[in-house]
Structure formats: structure tokens, C-alpha cells
């Protein structure tokens, strides 16, 4: 499987603008999923667009990545961060999750970071669902292609039953703030993640991670 996830920031909050862009996305890919960005995000996009393909060749043939250039050139769209990747499933505790919250984190590992440190970070991130059971489904993937504010290198996706599971247990777990966060904290000697990142929470009618 190959996936493209795009975080689309609109030029205004007018519902007409949102509906116009959503319609364009669905016209391009009728089977795609479009989520609405939630206010708990940072650089997370007003619309979150999920496109699933059988493989990378299918994605290439679709022209979906080039379509983002076309979309960003329209007056309704201010900015798009997007990644293409082979999803790497970490946990699938609730495959039939519905009316859920999708959270993704686009990050860039700082160039020159030690491979051993990156590997350790990935191991520790992947263990988060073991300490935070509110993470119902999760995937941790390496970007094949990226566009946007930075050259995103990794994608950390989770599905929650409700936003309170993200703003509550996810953020208050000591595994998160006292352990994992050191890779992100600009004050920590272990830091390997650029401080500019996309932290995106959005609505999700039906889970997407189960398809990984």
C-alpha cells in the first residue's frame, strides 16, 4: 500500500471556501477521505486529505502529488504540507473505529542526526500505545516524498475515540512528557527533531489506519 496525506491550509475560515476545496478533492479522488482540522492543531491544516493506493506505481500514475501544486495555486488555498509513504502499522486495537479523531505528526529529523539516535527515537515512539491505551490505532512511517514548510521525514499517525484522549492522556502521560519529548525539546541534548512540525488533529468519519 502507498498513502498520501495532505494538510491543506485555507486562506480564510469561510465555510464556502472549505466546501469548495473539499469538492475539488472529492472530484479528483471520489474514494478519498477528507477530514476537518480541529483547533487543537499547530500547522495542522483546515482540511486533512487521505488518499490510499495499492502501491507506489498507482500513486505515481494518479498524479495526486502534482495535483497539490494545482490546488495550492488556487486563491482558496494558502499552504499545503503533504507526504507520500508506505504506511508502517504499529497497533490496530480498534479497526472499526468511527466518528474518531485522526492525529498526525509530520516531523523532520535534523540533518546530521546520528542513526543510532534516530533508531532509538523510532523504537520509543512505537512503544507509546503500550503506555497510552487511548491510542487505538497507530502507524509510524518514513516519508518517500514530502512538500511544505520542511522536508518532512517521518509521519506519526494515531486514531483516538475522541479529542479528549489526545488533549488528555496523550499529553499528560509521563511516557510522553518526561521521556519521548526529549527528542523534540530544543533544550535537551538528545534533540533530533526540528522544532517546526505539523501537529494535526482532525475529524475522521471512519478509521483509515485499518486499511494499512
Amino acid at each position: 500500500m502507498f498513502k498520501q496525506t495532505a494538510l491543506i491550509t485555507l486562506t480564510d475560515a469561510n465555510p464556502t471556501t472549505r466546501d469548495f476545496v473539499s469538492a475539488q478533492l472529492r472530484e479528483f479522488a471520489p474514494d478519498s477521505v477528507v477530514g476537518t482540522g480541529l483547533p487543537n492543531s499547530s500547522h495542522g491544516g483546515d482540511l486533512v486529505w487521505h488518499l490510499h493506493f495499492v502501491d507506489r506505481d498507482g500513486w505515481n500514475a494518479s498524479g495526486a502529488f502534482a495535483f497539490l501544486d494545482t490546488l495550492e495555486a488556487t486563491p482558496a488555498v494558502a499552504h499545503i504540507d503533504a507526504v507520500g509513504y508506505v504506511p508502517n502499522l504499529i497497533v490496530l486495537g480498534e479497526p472499526a473505529i468511527a466518528d474518531a479523531v485522526y492525529r498526525t505528526l509530520f516531523v523532520q529529523v535534523i540533518p546530521g542526526s546520528k542513526v543510532a539516535a534516530i533508531d532509538q527515537w523510532l523504537v520509543e515512539i512505537a512503544a507509546m500505545p503500550a503506555y497510552i491505551p487511548e491510542i487505538r490505532n497507530a502507524a509510524l512511517s518514513i516519508a518517500v516524498v514530502a512538500r511544505g514548510a520542511l522536508n518532512w521525514t517521518h509521519i506519526w499517525e494515531q486514531e483516538f475515540a475522541e479529542i479528549a484522549d489526545l488533549t488528555g492522556p496523550y499529553m499528560t502521560s509521563a511516557y510522553h512528557w518526561s521521556h519521548i519529548d526529549r527528542w523534540f525539546d530544543p533544550e535537551m541534548p538528545d534533540r533530533i527533531i526540528d522544532p517546526l512540525l505539523c501537529h494535526s488533529a482532525s475529524t475522521l468519519p471512519n478509521g483509515v489506519i485499518a486499511e494499512y
Binding site: W177, S178, D181, R182, P186, E187, M188, P195
Partner: protein, 110 residues
């Protein structure tokens, strides 16, 4: 949620100890205090500055914040202030090795 300790530990050449401590106190401490961090202890081991050779010193600054919101306050304020990361980069030549760890009372977790 109970008090959280933020423990900065530095391994320093004895010849750098005085300069490092002076800069930490003058430049870092006011910034951290403005982010809600309270300095609770400053220690050196061995308790003699090794500026005539014979090894390195370990200097430790212990801070605390009252709770997890306080922890996130100091964390996110620092993240939004590029001067903080710049300070750590600037002071790095004086430091051989450093760690920062977060601690809470054992009884809350075990």
C-alpha cells in the same frame, strides 16, 4: 499531579567551572525563572573546583515546577523562544557532557 523536578547535570573541565556557573546564573537562570521554573539546589562534585588538573567536576542545578501544566509552560515557552536553543548552542563549548532529566516522588508511580 505532584511537583516535577527538572535536573540539569553538567560534566565540566575544572578550568571551565567558574565561567560556566557564572554564565548559567547570569544568563540562563532569569530566563528559566520567567518561565515559571524555581531553582531549588545547586551542587558541585567533588566539592572542590578542579582547576589545577586531576579530573572533571559535576555541577548540578535542580529546578522544580509545581505541576504538569507548569512543566508544559516552561517547555512550550522555551520552544517559542529561539534565544533559548541559541543559548544552549552558545554555551556548549564549555560543557563536556550534559543531561536533563525529570523526576517525581517515587510514591506517585510505584
Amino acid at each position: 499531579m505532584s511537583v516535577i523536578a527538572i535536573v540539569d547535570e553538567f560534566e565540566l573541565k575544572g578550568s571551565h567551572v567558574r565561567a560556566f556557573i557564572a554564565r548559567y546564573r547570569l544568563e540562563y537562570v532569569p530566563n528559566a525563572q520567567a518561565r515559571g521554573m524555581m531553582l531549588t539546589a545547586q551542587t558541585i562534585a567533588p566539592p572542590i573546583v578542579l582547576d589545577n588538573g586531576g579530573g572533571n567536576n559535576i555541577v548540578t542545578f535542580r529546578w522544580q515546577v509545581p505541576d504538569l501544566p507548569g512543566w508544559w509552560r516552561q517547555r512550550l515557552t522555551a520552544a517559542g523562544d529561539p534565544a533559548v536553543a541559541a543559548w544552549w548552542a552558545d554555551i556548549a563549548p564549555l560543557i563536556m557532557r550534559r543531561t536533563r532529566r525529570f523526576e517525581q516522588e517515587l510514591g506517585h508511580h510505584v
